[in-house]
Structure formats: C-alpha cells, structure tokens
C-alpha cells in the first residue's frame, strides 16, 4: 500500500465520473425519483413510508454502486488498463481501496441528497439520528463496491456483468425482511437470509428508525457489514493476477 498511489487512484476514478455528466445526474436523480414514487405509493400511510422509505435509503446505494463498480472494473480488465497497472509499482490494494473510497464518496453525496429529500420533503420520521442513516447507506455502498469488484472477475462482457445484479442483489433484496418479516420465513429461507450482508444493513436501518440512540444491535450489524466488505475485497484481490496465460 502506498498513500500516494491510493490518493491518485481515488482521484483518477473521481475524475472519470466527473467527465461523465449524465452519470452524475443519474447518481443524484435516480434515488430521489424512486423515493418520490414510493412516497406517493404510500400516500396517507406515513408509518409505512417511514419503514419502506428508510430501508430504500440503504438499498439504493448498494444496488447502484454494485452495478457501476462491476462495469468500471470490467472496463479496467477489457481495456488492458488493469494489466498495465499491474506492471507498475501499483499494489492490488491501492487499486481496490481506491475504488472503495472513490465510489464510497460518490455514495456519500448520493445518500446525503436522498436522505435530505426523504427527511425534509417527504417528512420521513426516525427516532434515531439522521447521520446514522447516511453512515449505514455509505457502508452499504462500499459493500456494493466490494462485491462489484469481486464479481467483475467472473464476467467477460458487459452483458454478463449486468446479469450479476439479479444474481447478487435481488435475493438479498427479497430476503432482507422487507417483503416478509424474517421471523415468518421458512427456516431454510431464514438461514439464507442470515448469510446475506444486506439483511444486517436493513436491520441496522430499522434500529435507527425505532431507537433514539445507536443500539448494540446496530453496531453489531454495521460490524458485520464491515466484515463482509473486508472479505469481498480480499476475494477481489485474489482475482487480480499479475500474470496471465
């Protein structure tokens, strides 16, 4: 690891996003538009929006950053820049952490705007502090980045890469407790749900919704998400090979 290479890699990735105005626009607008949709779906049922809207604030960054990262990393692989970087003094972790920090920052901006809209425009109500929502959203975004970095290794084309979204994201979304309470699922479904990181991110958000102070469950959940990030990044590092056949 080198600070200089880590910072310059983070800067390079942010510069790439900066040149892509439509992507910036979509990063900001898409979660807000979807939240608006959900708000009007539950028009007059504030209590439901307080639950669903809150959970969505954590799910959007995960989904969006997973997709963006898997495509970005696939482009590094197919354009030859990855192979080139690995012939330089660049460390594998410099590159992976660079992605994590750059997209994590983008997600922080995204989460701040989306939560701002949810709280001030749509009167989202949580007992817990708002900054914790943003922290959990960012952790979730970085989890999406880490899984995206890992999954991109198994895709040869963009067609394949985007299909990892339904494979990796949708089951977590279905089983996280949003549609069916986890306690009411069949035992084996609950076991799968237990093994999925998004379950804990959603639980953490629910904790913010229900309690004034950060609870022990919340910190444990955040710890689990952080652990999953480390595992996914380690696996991603193992897919970066300096030599190829």
């Amino acid at each position: 690891m080198s600070m200089r290479r880590l910072i310059s890699t983070t800067g390079r990735i942010l510069r790439q996003i900066r040149h892509d105005h439509r992507t910036i626009g979509m990063l900001v607008a898409v979660p807000v538009l979807l939240l608006t949709l959900i708000y009007f779906m539950f028009d007059g049922q504030e209590r439901i929006f307080d639950g669903v809207g809150l959970i969505m604030l954590g799910i959007f960054p995960f989904v969006i950053m997973f997709l963006i990262t898997s495509i970005a990393m696939l482009r590094e692989r197919t354009s030859g820049t990855l192979e080139r970087l690995l012939t330089t003094p660049m460390g594998k972790l410099d590159l992976l952490f660079g992605y994590g920090i750059a997209f994590g920052l983008a997600a922080a901006v995204q989460a701040a705007i989306a939560s701002g809209v949810a709280y001030w425009l749509f009167d989202l109500d949580t007992f817990g502090p708002r900054w914790l929502v943003i922290v959990i959203a960012c952790a979730n975004a970085v989890l999406g980045v880490a899984l995206g970095l890992f999954c991109s290794a198994f895709a040869r084309t963009e067609f394949q890469a985007v299909q990892f979204m339904p494979v990796v994201v949708v089951p977590q979304f279905l089983l996280c407790g949003l549609f069916v309470a986890r306690g009411e699922m069949a035992g084996w479904l609950q076991a799968i749900s237990d093994a999925m990181p998004m379950t804990y991110a959603v639980e953490a958000l629910e904790e913010v919704g229900l309690h004034e102070q950060a609870t022990a469950t919340l910190w444990r959940d955040l710890g689990i998400v952080a652990g999953c990030i480390v595992v996914a990044l380690t696996l991603a590092a193992a897919t970066l090979r300096r030599r190829s056949p």
Partner: protein, 242 residues
C-alpha cells in the same frame, strides 16, 4: 557489453498452442533491439514474457539481474501494449499524470513533458475518446515514457503515425538508448528495422536471425532488409526440407 535482458530456453504455450519453442537471446544495455516477424509469430508473447505478465511453460527470463516481473522491476520496466491501454474517459494530461503518480519521484511536470514529447501538447486537455487513432497511440506511448524506465518494451509504438512523427519518435528512442535505456521495439515496418542496433527475426515462435542490421544484410547478400529476411526464411525452409 552488459546484458540487460537474458532469455534462456523460453517455452510459452497459450491454450494448446506452443507459441515460443525454446527461445534464447541476450539484449545489451543502452541499445535498441528490433523485434520483427509476421503477426502471430510470437513477438508480443516474447515481450509479455520480458515484462513478466506472461505465464511461461519453462525457461527463464532475467531482466537487470532479476526474474522478469519481480517487484523491483515494476519500477524499472515500462511496457507499451499494442492496443491502447489508457482511460478513454480522461484527458491526455490526466492519463499521463495518473500513470506518473504511480512511480516515486515522477512529477506532474514529467507527465506534461511526456505529453509534449509525443507531440500531443496541443491536445493535452482533450478527452482520449475524442482523439484520432494515431493520437490515441501517442497518448498511450506518453504514459509508457513518463516514468523514464531503464527498460522499455514497446509493442508497435509507431503504427498509424505519419512519417515525420515516426522519425521524431525514433530520434527520441535513439536518444534514450544513448542515455542508457534499453529498448525492445516490435515493428512491421522495415525502414524502422534499419534504425535498430540489433534485430531479432521471429517466425513461428523461433528465432531465425539475431544480429546487427549490417550483418544481416551482409550474410543475405542484399542491402534491402525485407529481401534479406525473405532469403533467410527461404534458406531455412530449404534446410528443413533437405
């Protein structure tokens, strides 16, 4: 003469195909070595083996006294791939500065200099995806030159460039060699072969000739390098048949 690159009994297989059949060659410091041969002959594979990104079946490749691809060499070996490997959604300057930042002691100023050196000073602020093919190739080259490596492996660096620019680039390569850089350059263009100190002719993964341009001309009995290579290949084929 100090050997910078030593290739011994190098065998490389890609898929089921044997691409290099026990190759041996030595490349000395401060020279420009031309790698010639038809497409598919194994030029790029040999270059990849020297850079250390190619998995080899057997044999050794040593660069500056270290096994190819080892950590210390990553600071000292520059590699230009044939297909441009730079970021299309960054400007030329941003690309050069990024690759510069990966090396200790290489500054933004060096990056800007490298961009000027390949004649892209005026296009420095243009996004790479708005450049012409020749300009992209030069931006790619700038990113390989920026770290001033001791060993430079250049795969078809002058393809698609106009003659004046090609001449400029070759003057720069000669200048770098004079300052002690060791260059290995693959090319299809025979008039470039004449500007090398030494030529390696590869065909079907085997070394057919390894000599100075003058010696190759003399042994084939013609001044035209293209003709000389044809004669060498023909002589070899005849020997195989006989």
């Amino acid at each position: 003469m100090e050997a910078t690159i030593e290739v011994k009994d190098l065998v490389v297989e890609r898929g089921k195909r044997r691409v290099l059949h026990g190759m041996n060659c030595t490349i000395t410091r401060g020279t420009v070595t031309g790698l010639l041969g038809p497409s598919g002959s194994g030029k790029t594979t040999l270059m990849r083996a020297i850079v250390g990104v190619q998995i080899v079946k057997s044999g050794t490749v040593m660069v500056l006294g270290q096994p190819a691809g080892s950590e210390p060499l990553r600071h000292q070996v520059g590699y230009l791939t044939q297909a441009p490997s730079i970021y299309a959604d960054l400007t030329v300057r941003e690309n050069a500065r990024y690759f510069a930042s990966l090396y200790e002691g290489v500054t933004n100023k060096d990056a800007d200099q490298a961009v000027n050196d390949v004649g892209l000073g005026d296009a420095a602020n243009q996004l790479v995806n708005t450049l012409s093919g020749g300009q992209i190739a030069r931006a790619n080259l700038a990113c390989a030159l920026v770290s001033r490596p001791q060993v430079l492996i250049l795969d078809e660096p002058t393809v698609g460039q106009d003659p004046v620019l090609r001449d400029d680039l070759w003057k720069r390569f000669r200048e770098m060699a004079a300052n002690g850089t060791t260059l290995v350059v693959s090319s299809h263009v025979m008039d470039e072969a004449g500007r090398c100190d030494r030529l390696l002719l590869i065909r079907d993964g085997e070394l057919i000739a390894d000599d100075t341009p003058a010696a190759i001309r003399a042994s084939a009995g013609t001044d035209d390098l293209e003709e000389a290579f044809l004669r060498l290949i023909l002589a070899r084929t005849m020997a195989e048949v006989a």
